[in-house]
Symmetry: C2
Subunit: 223 residues, 2 copies
DNA sequence: ATTATCTATAGATCTATAGATAATGC
DNA sequence: ATTATCTATAGATCTATAGATAATGC
């Protein structure tokens, strides 16, 4: 038992605390909870994208997920809980897709170029979802909002790490910490810009042009 | 009378149609309408910033403006009309402040540098208002949304014009149309970024640092 | 008489839960 | 017996307007 406890402690020390907020549920079976919540999220994302958080009713959410309003409230304590689950799911998927596409890479500069291309095209695929986060984050309770913003920050740090690597292997020019942090935010936001300014950008640029032009500008600043 | 009519026609031909949506009112006196709507906007901006559009009630709006709910509805036809008035007022003020601060300027490059500094500091002053537009534009009826986005575009074009001037007077490197449009959007959005990422940026940068670093990056791309 | 403002409320929702029912596993 | 699900509804709002009242100007 002391070994087990020791083992647990070690694991906790190695792995940072799961950056996810625990949402209470009345249902005991964890696998069922995960399954139902996935149903809830999948159905609700679409409703939120189409109608927005406030104009979507809890009844619609339950119905779209395939069960009754009473059941919905066995898996979350409030409508805001669903919004939180949705935001987390979107960030999870963005981060997954991004990390998957940048595993193999050469020098820091090459890795960064690949990451920008991958990230911008993920942003393109997930336009509606990114927009949703921009619009509805403010509707989250403070505690949940902190977790969502932390996740946004973690995605930004992917770029900071690549910039660090590039400076380290001399494939990028020297940059101080402030410059690295700022560049990372700029890259993250220029990807989002493709989604929240699409009404102006899409008529003028294809995704490929947009990526080519922005990459050139960004990498130009780093050589 | 013919001179007056002629004068009017000439003025209309010179000045493009007011890019503002007409909102119907039951009140006849235009000066009173303007005054009451200013009251409504001034009071409501604060409520929207604090509670968001959907959680602000029409009663609260009327009370904050200093009259009854019945009177409110003499000046607008719906809650969404108030949101539209608020968005327009915010954009008007941003554009005014920006244009005021860039009237006197030397070469294109100098004017651009001054504009970036002015714009970023206006964004800083109007953080909450910019955030509000990002969050609530989607709650506007389609017709109103078009006008608000058009206003956003007009502000972006201020930077496109300065870039054009800089290319024209050789104080900036040659840029094609696509590059100019894209740079203009980048500048506009990097100003907004200071507001919607302030939870991460403010602890790391002062406004002055932020302006200095971003200006250096942007102008570096243009020399 | 006309214009502006106010009071009172119709009518329509919407979230969250209590208590009843069905399904599961000992 | 325990766990999950459903039905029915309490309780609380909220937008928008109709009809009554007050203020203004001829």
């Amino acid at each position: 038992m002391s070994t087990l406890a020791g083992g647990r402690t070690r694991l906790k020390a190695l792995k940072p605390a799961e950056p996810t907020r625990d949402i209470p549920t009345a249902v005991k079976d964890p696998a069922l909870v995960a399954k139902r919540r996935r149903q809830i999220v999948d159905a609700t994302v679409q409703l939120f994208i189409k109608k927005g958080f406030h104009k979507t009713t809890t009844r619609e959410m339950a119905q779209a997920a395939g069960f009754s309003i009473g059941t919905l409230y066995e898996y979350v304590a409030s409508k805001e809980d669903v919004l939180y689950l949705v935001c987390q799911a979107i960030h999870d998927e963005m981060e997954d897709r991004l990390r998957q596409r940048i595993r193999h890479a050469g020098s820091g500069a090459q890795a960064l170029a690949a990451a920008i291309e991958a990230y911008f095209s993920v942003c393109d695929q997930m336009s509606d979802h990114i927009l949703l986060i921009y619009q509805e984050t403010k509707s989250l309770p403070p505690e949940s909002m902190r977790f969502v913003l932390a996740h946004e920050e973690r995605i930004t740090q992917v770029f900071a790490e690549l910039l660090d690597r590039g400076v380290g292997d001399y494939s990028l020019r020297p940059l101080n910490r402030a410059e690295i942090e700022l560049m990372a935010h700029n890259i993250a936001v220029l990807g989002h810009m493709w989604t929240f300014r699409r009404w102006s950008l899409r008529p003028r640029f294809s995704l490929e042009q947009y990526i080519a032009l922005q990459s050139e500008l960004i990498l130009g600043q780093l050589r």
